[in-house]
Symmetry: C2
Subunit: 456 residues, 2 copies
Amino acid sequence: MAERMIVIGGDAAGMAAAAQARRSRGRDDLEIVAFERGHFTSYSACGIPYWISGLVPDRDQLIARDPTTHREKFGIDVRLRHEVVAIDLDRREVTAVDLTGGREIREPFDILMYATGAVPTTPDWARTDVAGVFGVQTLDDGSALRSWLDADPPPKRAVVVGGGYIGVEMAEALVLRGLSVTLVERAEQPMSTVDPDMARLVTDAMRGLGVDIRTGVQVTGLSEHDGRVDAVRTDAGSIPADVVVLGLGVRPNTALAEAAGLPIGPTGGLRVDRQMRVAGVPGVWAGGDCVETLHRVSGMPVHVPLGTHANKQGRVAGINIGGGYATFAGVIGTAVTKVCDLEVGRTGLRERDALAAGFEFVSVIAESTNRAGYYPGARPMTVKLIAERPSGRLLGAQIVGWSEAAKRIDTLAVALWNRMTVDDMTALDLGYAPPYSPAWDPVLVAARKAVDALAR
Amino acid sequence: MAERMIVIGGDAAGMAAAAQARRSRGRDDLEIVAFERGHFTSYSACGIPYWISGLVPDRDQLIARDPTTHREKFGIDVRLRHEVVAIDLDRREVTAVDLTGGREIREPFDILMYATGAVPTTPDWARTDVAGVFGVQTLDDGSALRSWLDADPPPKRAVVVGGGYIGVEMAEALVLRGLSVTLVERAEQPMSTVDPDMARLVTDAMRGLGVDIRTGVQVTGLSEHDGRVDAVRTDAGSIPADVVVLGLGVRPNTALAEAAGLPIGPTGGLRVDRQMRVAGVPGVWAGGDCVETLHRVSGMPVHVPLGTHANKQGRVAGINIGGGYATFAGVIGTAVTKVCDLEVGRTGLRERDALAAGFEFVSVIAESTNRAGYYPGARPMTVKLIAERPSGRLLGAQIVGWSEAAKRIDTLAVALWNRMTVDDMTALDLGYAPPYSPAWDPVLVAARKAVDALAR
């Protein structure tokens, strides 16, 4: 008789696990049912800001695989608008509610894949019935925001609360749509995903785009008129707003798991082993934004909600569920983003992370260009390296530049992954031609500067 | 009394060694004299095609450091238009000829830095007094060609002989200047620096630009009229030409070294140790296009004339001459170029190199895009990987793509440098955001495909 796999959550990790398991186990051997509480499966949440801005014209372009594909190509019984409300580990069954009809159903499982993703951090003031306040965590969220922006007359003044990746990308998207945008950040600077000296370059670029950035400001509440938001109240005064976008980060969505007694780690994410099995719970697997994972540099558990990790973790779980063997190797915190035309990349530890992990280190910032200085279109490119003292081991890197800059963080990410020292890095054989870099690549210039700093 | 360092060749390796030695040894401790037979020091030979095309407006933009800078900032006695014609190792002196006045001088040395670069491969038919035939190896060569192209009336029909990097870049430069260009290549395809399946993409792009590519054609001679070239004769007929550009590769310029009894390796380059000391000859150092070096993947000596290696080797020699310690770690054959808008990158071994080195391997080609498929400007990107069987160790990689593609070869170069397996590579934490890659980065897609190929 076929085994039965239940997937909770129809996005990256869940559907990758299901599709991967299917590759080695046919429909007669493994029945797969996936519950998704939203309207969509396997979509690019990271693409939402670009659909909101209009850069990506059609919402469906963000959907990598729709339910029909999952059903027909992979034989996965996808049930949209079904929310799993309980897991019974003893009886090996889940309880789900059909959000359309309200009907409750129970489904048995042999294998459970827990992939519920993350939920946005929502302060008390944002728990409101006031219309015009939006998260952008799911495609359903994005659709609601997009409808609001498309109204006639359209909203004119936007306030974005929170200056992380999503906040910054949404601020840009709303500027591109022609709104006047204020970004409110509680810390001294937005884009705290890089060190303050690098984040300053991003702040400058956003101001250049016309975003009104208010830092060190705490939101205290909302004002409304006829049930619609009309201002954001802060400890530094009120800011008029026809639409409010929340970008305050996310936390692992583990409510169900906690109720079922699954183990939660110090970051709030599910604890999993290297195979993506929920630690100590046979037959239960997890992946994506709901789990915590190993940071390969600090050695500490971290919660890094990102589609690439979700895809990889889902694939690893699916290989193991399929009878193969695979492990997830952990993360090093690589991330890239684009703010206006400014490109930002990071990998490994920031200074504050290196301090928290107990490393001694030097850090250097090297200015260079993305192309040979004489080649048309050469633009500044700033590379920051953080290296352990005295070993010289690379601990982290950040890049800010105007064109063809961000993805060069991958060069540093692979160096860091392989525990290279900055001295070793000065020898790296990197591609050189005038359209792509000066004869001394910016990465090598930075590595040389770090070697000098270590010698002092 | 100060020691005396003589540098033969005033470009990348020679001047890097001199400047680096100066960093640790003052003018009272080390006297430095540099002989350069041409008119320029420390220039970007790789930039010549872009000056010829007009993309770089001014020749002087290609010069990184002029003789005045070397003299005043680094205290290096640079003597332009001086050709060293003999090295006497017993008497520790060189003989140089002042090419302007014809005067011969002798200069003693304690330390000799041999950095004569490479000389172009010149077939018998090209050894001619016929005007209108040009190499593009030095800035003097480039200046002569540029004058010819700037004549009134300007030449209309160009033939480029040889389809390596220089030939391909020059063909593009001449098209951009408005000439009608024929490229003649003896082999079945130009751009043999990548495997034929990848080179085909380059050939297609060049044809799209309007270059008439004739492959499998051997040049047999030149036709002239009034002492000026008017056609290139080949074994497949005559091709009219007002200007002929030679791009037939280079070989190490070792005539002087051979005459002095310095050791030459199997590639024709000078043999050096890891510190860039000429093997077995105290006080004599070398670097740049005149030396051979270790290929870290094949383990064999190779001759890779490239400014980045020359800079690094010069720096290593200079650190050692300065009393420090540094070694040159070898190369892995990374290179990038741009042909029209097509970007090409390679690292490690091609299939033919892997065969020659005795490796068993699989190779895979993965099609992907440079951005998320839905993000505006997404263009195809093709990644080829060659992995040892059965170990899975990456041996080589090639990328062809239309935008922001070539420099991603660095990601693979660092993986290869660190002897990663393709299986390890599937776990890499690379930067992801829709403007920069699909959720599965093209490099990871290729690595997964290679893992599958190894399992078959």
